[in-house]
């Protein structure tokens, strides 16, 4: 099931895949620059920009002070000046100090300028739960997705980490690239999704979901690390005779609800799993789009499984019951399979 056995698969982690993508893009295009806290000398707290400053120098790979509002706005100015900045906000939880420049400037300037100004800018940031409590565990992709003008990319597979980072950098649109901390340090051999990362430059189209496991009984749509959890759950349930189709959404904006609807129409059951907060988020939006596409009575069951509108607690005993994982996902799938 895992990649350990496969030849041709480098046993790198997602951080390395990302660093490789950025490096290749910086080589291809000298307008690409990177800035953020600890991205330079340290190579990123998760190593996802390792080696870049040595290679491209401190002007193109800039360690910043802790001043996100200003260096995010600096990214906007750089983009207007003709550069293609990759701005790292270390953890997505910190976005509250600089959302302003992201949603009122970066995301709106293309429209506000009547199409005269492009902002080819990437915000690269890490989300997800690995035990870091309320202020360092959030996902927040729906926070960005609610605000118009930015694409929101949330890769899971190693292959996508490299390809979608390249696509984000090449895109003329503002892109939020949300990594999952648990994937950043996960190695190819431990991935259930595509661990194959070609050494050469490639870009993966943004906006297409992918069926990563075919199944008859339930359609499970999810993203980021939860795709791995879902595959783990699905593999376990196969033994119980429950056949789950798993879809990796890969981006939240654009949201490929068509692929999900096609599957859900066939299975009649839709489960959306989301490590972000439950309410006013991805789960309702995706389910509603599917319902809008198929009509209200096309589905026998729709369920949402997400963080139940509670800050992430520090204690592992609490975190485990709050955050969707393979066990809780399997439980919901079992209930659905039993139902109508």
């Amino acid at each position: 099931m895992t990649a350990g056995a496969r030849p041709n698969v480098r046993n790198i982690n997602a951080s390395q895949a990302i660093a490789e993508a950025i490096s290749l893009e910086m080589e291809r295009d000298d307008r690409v620059v990177m800035l953020g806290e600890d991205v330079g000398r340290s190579g990123g707290v998760f190593g996802s920009s390792r080696g870049l400053q040595e290679r491209f120098g401190p002007m193109r790979v800039r360690d910043t002070p802790i001043a996100e509002m200003s260096f995010t706005g600096m990214g906007v100015g750089m983009a207007m000046a003709g550069l293609r900045p990759v701005v790292e906000i270390m953890f997505v939880d910190f976005v509250g100090v600089c959302l302003e420049q992201i949603y009122n400037a970066m995301a709106k300037i293309p429209y506000m300028s009547g199409g005269r100004v492009k902002i080819p800018m990437v915000i690269k940031t890490a989300g997800g739960n690995i035990g870091s409590a309320a202020q360092h565990s959030q996902c927040l992709w729906a926070t960005f997705a609610h605000l118009p003008g930015m694409q929101v990319v949330t890769p899971c597979s190693l292959h996508d980490h490299k390809g979608m980072m390249a696509a984000a950098i090449r895109s003329d649109n503002p892109v939020i690239f949300i990594e999952h901390k648990a994937l950043l340090l996960k190695k190819a051999k431990d991935f259930l999704t595509d661990p194959h990362v070609p050494e050469e430059a490639y870009a993966t189209e943004i906006g297409k979901a992918k069926v990563v496991r075919q199944g008859r009984d339930v359609t499970l749509a999810t993203l980021s690390a939860s795709v791995e959890y879902a595959l783990e759950a699905a593999a376990g349930l196969a033994g119980e005779g429950i056949d789950v189709e798993v879809i990796d959404l890969r981006s939240v904006v654009p949201l490929d609800s068509e692929t999900v609807a096609t599957s859900a129409e066939r299975t009649g059951r839709l489960l959306v799993v989301d490590e972000d907060y439950l309410s006013f988020g991805l789960s309702a939006e995706l389910a509603m789009r599917v319902i809008e596409q198929l009509g209200p009575s096309a589905l026998r069951q729709v369920r949402r499984h997400a963080v139940p509108d509670v800050p992430i607690p520090a204690a592992q005993s609490l975190e485990e019951v709050i955050v969707p994982g393979p066990g809780s996902i399997a439980q919901v799938l079992r209930e659905m399979a039993k139902g109508a």
Partner: protein, 320 residues
């Protein structure tokens, strides 16, 4: 230098005439949102013209029209944008707080504190590419109390970026008095906290502004890091058109309009110096008024954007 002097006067006259033309759009609802004009603050923008170069970047605020004109943005396109027309600088999408002119490296934002970071980005890009251009970030006195002032000056100084921070200190952030919410008597004296160049100048004296702005630009151009130029002034109208403005004492407003009008002051100076007669200066003012009235008439004949285009320009490419 009579030519320069008359040119300066003409610049100020044009700026004011432009703003006055804009005022016409408020009662008619051609400008259906709010409008902030810089009337009374013309000497600052006019004083910048001499030192500004085409590729220099200027990032302004909610009160941006005069900076745009100083940067060479086309007055017709700017006014059309303010009047929400398809012929506007941004096809009527941006409006008066959000004009963007990539050819002139001019932009603005309606969010206080948001201008300096963008200017810093230009400054960084210029340095990275080894270009001789400078970036000017404008803020009001109110905006100078925002955290970005600190963050941007610190970064610009640490990295010796060619950034000039121009502070238009009109003593008020809407109703909030500068002295009530500011620790120091001037903004310029904060320069020491960044090892930056700093100066506070009478912003109603166009020649003083021109000289000081030239010095600030020279400092930044020399690779010595950022400069803070604070220019004091008084806002002659409400914060926005429609503002009750009852928070400023009547007497203060009256006196300030009498003593701090940069155009009247310069007019007096030029006549006193014998550089021009009252009639000559009035002719310049009339000419400015004529130009802007003509532009206004042309803008008024332009169409509003076609509703069918309301969803254009959100993304640069069609999403795959």
């Amino acid at each position: 230098m009579a030519a320069d002097e008359l040119a300066r006067f003409a610049s100020m006259a044009r700026l004011r005439a432009f703003e006055e033309a804009c005022l016409e759009g408020v009662p008619t609802f051609e400008i259906h949102g709010e409008l902030h004009t810089g009337i009374g603050q013309e000497a600052i923008a006019a004083g910048m013209i001499a030192a500004l170069r085409d590729r220099d970047a200027l990032v302004s605020t909610h009160r941006n029209h005069m900076h745009a004109l100083a940067k060479g943005v086309n007055a017709r396109a700017l006014m059309a944008e303010i009047f929400e027309r398809e012929t506007g600088l941004c096809r009527g999408r941006g409006g008066h707080m959000h004009p963007f002119d990539p050819e002139r490296n001019f932009s603005a934002t309606g969010i206080v504190g948001a201008s300096l970071p963008v200017a810093l980005g230009y400054a960084y890009a210029f340095k990275l590419r080894g270009e001789p251009h400078l970036a000017i970030g404008v803020t009001g006195d109110g905006g100078a109390n925002h955290g970005t002032f600190h963050e941007c000056l610190n970064m610009a100084a640490a990295w010796k970026l060619p950034l000039v921070v121009l502070v238009e200190n009109n003593q008020y952030a809407i109703s909030v008095r500068f002295a009530d919410v500011t620790a120091t008597a001037t903004i310029a004296e904060r320069a020491s906290a960044y090892g930056a160049w700093g100066k506070c100048v009478d912003g109603t004296d166009v020649e003083a502004v021109e000289t000081a702005f030239g010095e600030a630009m020279e400092h930044a151009r020399a690779g010595k890091g950022p400069a803070i130029l604070e220019a004091t002034c008084y806002r002659f109208r409400g914060h926005y058109e429609g503002d009750h403005d009852s928070y400023r004492p009547r007497a203060e407003k009256k006196e300030s309009r009498a003593s701090l009008d940069p155009i009247a002051r310069y007019r007096g100076m030029l006549i006193a110096r014998g550089k021009a007669t009252a009639d000559e200066l009035d002719a310049i003012s009339s000419q400015a008024k004529f130009e802007m009235t003509a532009i206004l008439a042309a803008v008024r004949a332009d169409r509003q954007p076609d509703p069918s285009g309301a969803l254009d320009h959100i993304f640069a490419e069609v999403s795959p």
